[in-house]
C-alpha cells in the first residue's frame, strides 16, 4: 500500500508480447512451427479474400464477366438465390412463404423463452404457430390460392420440417423415456423394443418407407399428406435418440429425490414434471443441443423423397446450363444459411446452461 510504484505491473501490451513470444518462439523448433503454420494461415486467408472479394463478380448484370475472373461469381446468388430460399413455391406468392417462415421461426424463438414454458402455454403457442404456417403456405381460405405441399420448398420447408420434428419428437421422447423407466414390465419392455428397433434402422429407410411404402399398405383415406407422414416418421426417429438422452438424465438424479417426494405425498405428475424432468433436462443439455443441431442438418435428407428443402433447391439452382459452373458459390450461400441457424441454436444452448447454473448451481 505504501510503496505502490514497486508493485505496479508492467504495461499490459508488453506483457502480452512477452506471453506471445514465450508461447510461439520459446525455442528454435517452436519458432519454425510458428512460422510455417503462420504463413500457411496467411496464405489461406489471402486466397479466400482474393477469391471471395477482390476478384469476385457481384451483380447479375455483370454475370458475363464471370468466366473471365478468377474469383467468385456472386451473380449466381442474385439470379438463383430466390430459388434456394423458396424452392418451387410460386414466385408471385413468395411473400406467403416468407411470412410463414418468419412465423415458424418466431414460434421457435418464443418457445425458447422460459416465460412460455408451461403445459398449457407451449401447446397453445405451437398450435397457433403451426396453424398459421399451414394456412399461409397451403392457402385455400382467406382468398389465398392453394399451393400443394409438392410445391413447398426452400428455407420455409427446412425450418418447418425441423420445427415439426422437434415439436412432435420431444414430447414423444419424454413419453418413451418415462415408459422405459416404468415399473410395469409390459410398458417398459415395449418402450425398450421400440427405441432399439427405430435406432437400428437408418433414417433414410424410415423416411423412404413413410413416403413411398405407406401408400401401398394403408388405405387411401388414412394416408394423410406425404409431408405430414415424413415429419411424423422423422419425429419418431428423433424421439428414439432423444429418449435415451433423457433417460440418461433421469438416471443421473439420485433415487432418494424421487423417494423423498413420494414420501411427501406428491403426485406422479408433480414428481415427474417438477422434480425429475427439469433436472434431467439440465443435466443432459449439451447432448440435447447436440441432437437438435444434428436433426436440423439432417433435414436435408428429405431431398431423396422429392422434397425441395434448401439443399435440394440449391442443387436445382446450379442445375441449369448457364449457372452449372458456380456450385461453390451456391454451396457457400447454403452453408451460411445453415450456419446462422445452427450457430443460433448453439448460442441458445449456452444461454440455457448459464441460466440453469444460476438458478440451481
Amino acid at each position: 500500500m505504501t510503496d505502490a510504484s514497486v508493485s505496479r505491473p508492467p504495461p499490459l501490451l508488453d506483457s502480452r508480447l512477452e506471453i506471445l513470444k514465450k508461447r510461439l518462439f520459446s525455442n528454435w523448433f517452436d519458432g519454425i512451427v510458428t512460422l510455417v503454420a503462420g504463413s500457411a494461415l496467411v496464405w489461406i486467408v489471402v486466397s479466400i479474400v482474393d477469391w471471395a472479394f477482390l476478384n469476385a463478380v457481384w451483380s447479375e448484370a455483370e454475370a458475363s464477366r464471370c468466366r473471365e475472373v478468377s474469383g467468385a461469381c456472386w451473380s449466381v446468388i442474385e439470379a438463383r438465390g430466390r430459388l434456394v430460399l423458396f424452392g418451387l413455391y410460386p414466385s408471385e406468392q413468395h411473400w406467403r412463404s416468407t411470412l410463414a417462415c418468419l412465423v415458424i421461426v418466431l414460434t421457435m424463438i418464443l418457445s425458447c423463452l422460459p416465460a412460455m414454458w408451461g403445459l398449457k402455454r407451449l401447446p397453445a403457442l405451437w398450435i397457433a404457430g403451426f396453424g398459421t404456417f399451414v394456412i399461409l403456405m397451403y392457402g385455400g381460405i382467406f382468398g389465398l390460392s392453394v399451393v400443394t405441399t409438392e410445391q413447398w420448398g426452400g428455407l420455409s420447408l427446412t425450418v418447418f420440417i425441423f420445427a415439426g420434428v422437434f415439436v412432435l419428437g420431444m414430447p414423444m421422447a419424454v413419453g418413451l423415456a418415462l415408459a422405459r423407466r416404468s415399473k410395469l414390465p409390459v410398458i417398459h419392455w415395449l418402450a425398450a423394443v421400440f427405441i432399439d428397433t427405430v435406432r437400428s434402422l437408418p433414417l433414410l429407410t424410415i423416411l423412404f418407407a413413410a413416403a413411398v411404402v405407406v401408400p401401398f399398405v394403408v388405405p387411401h383415406w388414412a394416408q394423410g399428406d406425404k409431408l405430414g407422414r415424413v415429419i411424423v416418421a422423422f419425429a419418431v426417429f428423433y424421439a428414439a435418440y432423444q429418449a435415451e438422452i433423457i433417460r440418461a438424465g433421469i438416471q443421473s438424479i439420485p433415487s432418494g429425490q424421487e423417494e423423498a417426494s413420494q414420501a411427501l405425498g406428491m403426485s406422479y405428475r408433480a414428481v415427474v414434471f417438477d422434480i425429475i424432468l427439469p433436472q434431467a433436462f439440465r443435466n443432459t443439455l449439451p447432448s440435447t443441443i447436440n441432437q437438435v443441431v444434428i436433426t436440423f442438418k439432417e433435414t436435408s435428407i428429405v431431398t431423396i423423397i422429392g422434397f425441395f428443402d434448401v439443399t435440394a433447391s440449391a442443387s436445382a439452382a446450379v442445375g441449369r446450363g448457364e449457372w452449372g459452373a458456380y456450385y461453390v458459390e451456391i454451396y457457400v450461400f447454403v452453408a451460411l444459411i445453415y450456419f446462422v441457424f445452427v450457430f443460433g441454436l448453439s448460442r441458445y444452448g449456452a444461454y440455457l446452461e448459464r441460466r440453469t447454473r444460476l438458478h440451481h448451481g
Binding site: R82, A211, V212
Partner: protein, 345 residues
C-alpha cells in the same frame, strides 16, 4: 372346302372380336382418372437434371422431359397447364408410379428388361435415344475414338459408362488410361484442368460439360456413339389405352415434324391441309381422337402448345438451348436418325 370355310368363319369372328374394343374407345383407368382429376401427375426432379428437368429463376420447371409432360397433358386434357409436376428422386420413381403418386414416368428412364418385366412397368416407344459419347479437347485434333490411342479418359466411377468404354475400346484394340471420379463436378474439373484428354459419358451431360467449360470452343463431342440407351415413357402395366395415347402422342409430334407442321404454322396448315393424313392428324377431319378416347383436336392442341418434336428438342437441349446437343440419333429417320412416326390411317 369345308376346312377353308371354317377358317374364313374363324377369321371373320376374330376380326369382329378384335374390332370390338377399338370401336368401344374405352380410354382405360389412368386416363379416366386423369380426366376426373383434371390434371396429369407427371415426374420432375429432386433438384435438377440438366436439359431435361431444370428450374428457372421463378421456380418454374422447364426441359425436355417437362415439355413431354406438357405435351401429354395437352393431348389428354387440352391444356398444358393441366399438369402437376411431382418432384421425385431416381430411386423413388418406380414405387411412386405404382402407388399412384404419379400417373407416368417421363424421366430419362432407360428401357431395360428387368424394369419392363419385374417392376410392373409398361414402356412406350422410346422418346429419346440416349447416346454415350466422348468429349475431347479440341487441340488434340481427334475426330474418332481411334485417334485417342493411349490417351487418358475421365470416367464416372462405378457407373455403366466404365463398362461401355472398356467394351468399345477393347473391341477395337484401342489402349487408354482411365481416371475415375465419383462426382460430376470432379470429372469436369479434371477435364478442364487438362488432367485427361477425353471424358466419356451420357451425351446431354457432355453437352452441359462443354457449355460450362471456361472455353467451350476448346472441347468437341465426337460423332462416335459408344452405346445407346433408349429412354421410354413408363406407365403402370396393363393399361393399354394409356400406352396407346402416349405412343400416338409421340407419333403425332414426329409426324408434325416430318410434315413441317410447327407451333407457328399449325393454324394455317389446319386450314389448308396438304394431305388427308395431315388433315386427320390436326382434327380437321374426324378420326384421330375417338379411337383413343380423346377429342379430335388433341394433336392440334398439343402442337399449338409445345410444337413438334424437333422444336421441343431444339428449345430444351438442342441448338436453341445453351447445351447445343446435336440431334444425332434423335433425328427423324429421313435425316439419319432413329425416330419415325407410325402410320395414321
Amino acid at each position: 372346302m369345308i376346312k377353308s370355310t371354317i377358317k374364313t368363319v374363324a377369321a371373320a369372328a376374330m376380326m369382329a372380336g378384335l374390332a370390338l374394343p377399338a370401336s368401344a374407345a374405352d380410354p382405360g383407368p389412368t386416363i379416366t382418372q386423369i380426366q376426373e382429376r383434371g390434371s396429369l401427375l407427371c415426374t420432375s426432379h429432386n433438384g435438377s437434371y440438366l436439359g431435361f428437368a431444370e428450374v428457372d429463376d421463378d421456380g418454374k420447371w422447364s426441359g425436355f422431359d417437362i415439355e413431354m409432360c406438357k405435351a401429354l397433358a395437352t393431348a389428354i386434357l387440352g391444356n398444358p397447364e393441366a399438369l402437376q409436376l411431382i418432384p421425385v428422386s431416381w430411386a423413388q420413381r418406380f414405387p411412386a408410379l405404382q402407388s399412384g403418386d404419379i400417373d407416368v414416368i417421363i424421366k430419362v428412364t432407360g428401357w431395360t428388361m428387368s424394369r419392363d418385366t419385374e417392376l410392373g412397368l409398361q414402356y412406350s416407344r422410346p422418346y429419346f435415344i440416349g447416346p454415350t459419347n466422348i468429349l475431347v479437347r479440341s487441340d488434340l485434333g481427334a475426330t474418332t475414338p481411334e485417334d485417342l490411342e493411349g490417351g487418358v479418359f475421365c470416367i464416372n466411377a462405378g457407373t455403366s459408362i466404365e463398362r461401355i468404354v472398356a467394351d468399345y475400346m477393347g473391341a477395337r484394340g484401342i489402349t487408354y488410361e482411365a481416371l475415375n471420379f465419383e462426382k460430376a463436378e470432379e470429372l469436369r474439373a479434371a477435364l478442364y484442368a487438362g488432367r485427361c484428354d477425353a471424358l466419356a459419358g451420357f451425351g446431354p451431360f457432355l453437352a452441359a460439360t462443354r457449355f460450362n467449360a471456361p472455353d467451350p470452343e476448346g472441347f468437341t463431342i465426337l460423332d462416335a456413339v459408344l452405346a445407346l440407351e433408349p429412354e421410354g415413357i413408363a406407365a403402370r402395366e396393363g393399361d393399354d389405352g394409356f400406352i396407346d395415347v402416349i405412343n400416338w402422342m409421340m407419333s403425332a409430334l414426329l409426324m408434325a415434324e416430318e410434315n413441317g407442321i410447327t407451333q407457328a404454322n399449325v393454324d394455317d396448315i389446319r386450314a389448308n391441309p396438304p394431305s388427308a393424313s395431315v388433315e386427320r392428324l390436326l382434327g380437321a377431319s374426324p378420326g384421330v381422337g375417338e379411337r383413343l378416347g380423346l377429342s379430335d383436336d388433341w394433336a392440334y392442341n398439343m402442337i399449338k402448345a409445345v410444337g413438334n418434336y424437333g422444336e421441343i428438342y431444339d428449345r430444351t437441349v438442342g441448338e436453341g438451348s445453351v447445351y447445343k446437343l446435336p440431334r444425332g440419333k434423335n433425328h427423324l429417320w429421313s435425316n439419319g436418325g432413329l425416330l419415325y412416326p407410325l402410320v395414321l390411317d
